[in-house]
Each structure stands twice: as structure tokens, then as C-alpha cells.
Amino acid sequence: MGTQKPQTRGIDSQGLITRRTVLRASILGAGAITAAPLLAACGSDSGNDTGNSPRTAPSLVKPSGTVTLTLWTWAWPEEPLATELKNAFEQAVPEVKLEVKKFPFPDYETGLRTAVPNGTSGDVLHLQTGSMIRQYTQFLSPLEDLAKQAYGADWETQFLDGSVKEIRDSVAKGDPLVAMPQQSSIGGVLWVNRAVLAKAGGTVPTSHEHFVEISKELRSQNLVAATWGAKDNWPNTDYLVQFASQFKPGIIAAAEAGEASFTDDAVVAGLNYLKRTLTDQLWNAAPFATPAFPDAYDLFFNGKAATAAIGTWGTAALFATPNRLTDWAACLWPKLPDAPQDDWMGQSVSGIPQASSPSAVRPWRTVNVATAMRGDLTPDKQWAAWKFIEWSCGEAGQKAGSATYTPARKGIRPDGLNAEWQKIYDWHNELGKGAERREFAFIETRKAIESAIAAVCVNNADPKAELQRVDAAAKRARA
């Protein structure tokens, strides 16, 4: 009988790893690899367990030579306008060479998350108001004093109403202003394709019932009354903010701040109305399976829909084809059934031949691009960064950029509008005085509202029960 070599578990008599061990290791490895990519994404964090780093006030030093400044953005125009805008800035401030790194928005959000805390992001950043600014406040430089020096003591009034306040509201109480309004929009205004609307009478909807009639008529011709890309979620909260405000202005913002409840009758009524628009078939087929871009808006852009909720943020689309300036007009969503009379518009009239209905739905406003600079820059870079912000948000920069975006400064219109659209554009900005705040301070609140809207509109869930969840989410976010 031969002696048997003692075997280590998993090793065979020749000292090789057994098949079983390899198999076992492979399967466990495969299991781990399944989870690893998902896990790795949330396991890493760049921070340590320390507190916030102190933010120092900017100390600007004009460079002796040329400084290269990097801008990170998702909102920079396409070529050739991109180069034109860059050149305009470099001519205005020859000491600075501008490098622009443009991202698709989702990548931008992800990129900022690691780059800003690590100090590897661009020197100047484009940010959205609300939760995005709040998230990065501690890494940004205070700008209030610089703005006063550059634009004068009344600088805040030089921007569209509510623009600066919206940025102030984006940060926690006591935190300084860390971004300047560069682009500002009035949204939630129905833009109208006159040719399509003509196939259903040619008059803009003056009541919900009228809107339903228009829709019925257009559907019979394989056209659509209004477009909604609910799959993207952001249009959904926009509509709810607008509709709820008809029953109680400012209710959503108040509820997010904890000064009211999301289960307030006004929010419930707004949500119920949103669901009713689906039941009454005002929209394209299956909005919850349709992304806003490109699908839903393409229906409007391609002449298959009579209206789409756009606003000044869509001004660039006016110039995409020459006939749009004459084909398109604008109006407001008509008064909601059961909503109280509210003459918030005063004497403002719509830009189209027929006036919108009395007590029409308020639009929303947003600073869609705010410009900020990192707080850890060297003094010469701080100088360069501020020069870029000062120029971008000043009259010259706003005018230079107005070909592609909607300026946040008062009195500056995009070039190329015809006389009627100049009137319509100004009308939008007039409406801003009564517009609702669009952005949310906390992303948790927004996501909870998105879930509530989908649950009510798609699953016929009880609005009140769903909105209670929003209350809970908002409370957690505030805490």
C-alpha cells in the first residue's frame, strides 16, 4: 500500500489546485463580480471623515502674463457659435485664454461629484440652481462683494426678477452667494404652431373643455394637441408646480420648505388635474413612455402637435428653420376647472391674436445656468475666473451669448427675433413676475414628487397617500 501524501484542502496529490476548488472560486468570484461594479460605484468616496474645509474670500491678483482658465459646462453652444463666444471673451479679457470642456448633462453631474471635492474640476463651473448649487456651495467662492464692485450697489435689480433670489435660495441659510445668474428662463408657456392649430379652429384653448375639443379634432387627423414627455420626469414636476399654483400660488415651494404640506388641497387638486389631462387625452399617445427629448418635442418641432410647453429656454429652436418665427406663437395654459379666479397677469396679453383666458396658468421661472468659481484657485486664476463671470453676466457677454441662450439680464433679447417675437419675448419676461419657482432645493423632494405623479397618473394611486410620502421625503431632506 503506497503512502498517501497529506493533502491541503483544495490541492490535489500533485500539488495542483483541484478542479472543484477552481470551480468554487470561479462561482464565488462570478457572484462577487456581479455585484462589484454596482458596489464599487457607491463604495468609493473621495472624502475622509473630517469636516468642511474653510472657504476663503477671493483675493484677486491680475496676472503678469496670460492665464489659462478652464470652464466646465453642459450649456455651451455648438460650433461655430462656440468659437465665436470664446473669441468674444478672449478679446474682452486678453490676459485670459479660455478652455471649454463641455459634457452631456448626465456625465456632467457625475463628473462634478468627484472632481469638485478633489479640486480637479474646471476653474469656472456652470451650475443649475437648487440642489446642484447647494451640493457644491462649500467648494465655491463667495461672489457678492465682487458683483457689487463690478455692477454697482443695485446690481441685483439688473437681472430678471427673482433670478438672484433663486440662487440665494439654493444655499443654506447663512451661506453666501456663490453663483451669478447667466441664463434665465420663463418656461411652461405653451408655444403654438398656428398651422396645426388652424386644423382645429385656429383659436388657442381658452378653457379646459375647449382644449379637449381641440385635441379631439386633431386626433381625428392623426395630430396632437399638446406634447408631454413624461418619461423624462422633469416635465412632470414642471406641470405640477404650475397646476398646483392655480389653486394656491407658491404652494409647492412652501411645502418643500416645510411651511405647508404637500397634502394641501391645492397640490392634490393640481395632481388630480394632471391626471385628468391624461384621461381627457390632451397629449400624444403614452406620455409616460415618451422622452421629452427628442420624441415629445419633435412632435411639435416637426409640425405634428399644436402646442408644447416651452418658454424662453427654447428660443434657439425658433431659429432652426426660417419659417418658425412666423409659424409659431405663444399663449398660456387656460384656467383650470374649479381653480379660483386669479388676475395675476394684470394687463399682460399673449403674443398671439387671441388673448389667453383670464386666470390662465402661471408659468415657471428658473436660472437655468448660474456661473460659479472654485474657492481654491490661485489669486491670478481667481482674477481670471471672476473676469469670465463678470463678462458672462455683464451686458457684453450676455449680448454675445444671446444668440444661443436666454440672457439673465434685463433688456437683452436674443438677436434675430422678428417684431412679433420681440413682443412675445418681452411678454415672457413680464410673466416672470407672477411665475412659480421651478427648481427644488432638495433632489429627494423632486424624486419623491416624480414618483407620486407617476403613481397617480399611471397606477391610479391615491394622490393624498402619495403626497404624504413626498412630505416624508421633504422632511428627511430638510433634516
Binding site: T8, I11, G15, L16, I17, L23, R24, I27, L28, G29, A30, G31, A32, I33, T34, A35, A36, P37, L38, L39, A40, A41, C42, G43, S44, D45, S46, G47, N48, D49, T50, G51, N52, S53, R113, V116, P117, Q135, Y136, A230, K231, N233, N284, A285, A286, P287, F288, A289, T290, D295, L299, I443, E444, K447, S451, A454, A455, C457, V458, N459
Partner: protein
Amino acid sequence: MTVRESAEAPTAVTAAGAPPRATPRPKRRRPSPGWLYVAPALAVFAVFVAYPIVETIRSSFYDFDGVSPIRDWVGLDNYTEMLGGLDPYFWKAVTNTLLWTVVTVPVQLALGLGFAVLLDGALRGKVVYRAVFFLPAVLSSAVIAFAWGWVFNPDEGVATRVIRAVGGTGQGWLADPGTAIWAAFGVSAWRYSGLFMLFYLAAIQMIPRDLYESATIDGASWWQRVRRITVPQLRPMTVLLTLFGVIGAFREFEVVYILTRGGPAHATDLLSIQIFDQAFDLSRPGYAAAIATALLVLTAVCAVVLLRLMSWANRSVQ
């Protein structure tokens, strides 16, 4: 106690009183060369798989936003929120993930086996068929999701047109919570059946031909040969593919995310989508880590069960 007893044993004297013969010193075992061979792979595994897992489990006990350097220790709070019903969508995602696994894996196996059996025979143009069936497996997830997004498009989609052509009303396949997940199941089955077919085809080639010849001489029909020879002989491959399928189902993300983003109303939410949403949309990596840990546990349990099944399948064929 046990330790002391065993330690004293070598010093015991023999019955005759003579000191015991010194036992030969065991040869120093040389390190197995096998481990040296796998050491580089193990090092990579440790850095890129083991460490992230440990770090993720650690992170699941913290609350942080992934941006601020502040991390608050919250103990089991994330798990309490997740398992205690405070997160209304976690259990929905668990249910959907399990449903995804239970539905798609058997369908992929059945279709893969069916295609393999059919294309193993003397079929004209079978090379073309094989390529066509296998093609979806090599396409990128984004391409597949966009392509099927168009198929299910509520206005112009092929699926919608087909339904209209046969007299139905256009259906928003992805807009209805009742149909959205089944539409996504269909895409998954379509995508991976060809890959499974390829594995099965390879395994069928390994089945001894004399088994079929004997069965044919004994008068077995084609169907009887498939049922009595092919299917049992393919058992180990079936278990292996089940393992691949389950792992694939737990990892499923891109196609569903692009097709439905977990909607409508969370109808197609999977655990992977929840992890992404919590980590990147809601900036709650700690909570996302807790969900990822739950997914890891689920995967590990399945891996152990399948490991046992694989041993059984191997034995049953031998």
C-alpha cells in the same frame, strides 16, 4: 484543554518504559506552485473586487452625499430604512429583480436549447441562422435599448403598428405598468437566447454520437432522442447557463434603464436601477451601498445553490 492534551501527547512514554522513538520530522511543505500561478489574478481580484466590496459594506453604515467630506456613522439605519418599509420602492425592486430572474432565465434556456437542437440538424442555411440568432449578444446595450425603444414607440413603433394593423388600438407598451416589464423581459430573452444557443451547440457536439446511433437502431424518434439523450446530457451546461443567466439577471441595468428608467411608476425598477438612482440621482451612496450589499447577499445565496446544483448535474451525467 484540548490544546494542552494534544500538546502533551508526543512526550508520553511507551508501555515498556523506553523513551518513544523520535518521530521523523515532517517534511516542510513547499508552497504549492498552483497558488503562485493564480497569485497575480488573486491580487487583481483583491484590489478590484474584494476591496470595493469591503468598502461598500463599510459605506453602508454611513450617511454621506459623496461630495462633502463629512460622513455620518448611522449604524444599521440604512438597513432599517431599506428592510423596514420606509423605502417604498426597495421591495418592489427586489420583487422585480427576482421576477426578472425567474422569467428571463428559463425563457433564455428554453429558446437557446430549442435553437441549438434545431440548428444542430441538417438544416439549410444554418450558419446564417446561427449568426442571426447570436448577433444580439454582441450588440451594445445602448444600441439594443434604442432599437427596441423604437419598436415600442407609442406613435410610430413597429409593435404599435402591428397592433393597429390587426385592428387593435395603438398601445403604449412601455407606458403601461402591466406591460412594461413584460416588454423588457422580451428584449432580454431576445438578446441572450442566441448566446445560450451557442453554448448549447458546443455542448451538443460533445455528446457521443454512438448514443444517438444506438437509440436510432432501437427505433427512437427524433423527439425521443432529444428528450432522452440530448437534454439529460446537457444538464451540466444547463446549470452553468442558469448560473450565467442568474448573474446576468442580477446585473441587468443598461437596457432597462434606457428603455424605461425603471418606470412607469417604478414598474420596472430593478435593484441595480435603485442602486444607481440612490447613488447618483439622490446622492445617497451610503444607502445605495446598503442596497448593493443586499444584492450581494442575494447573489451569494444563488451562487451557493447553483454550485450544489452543478455538482449534482456533473455527477448525474457521469
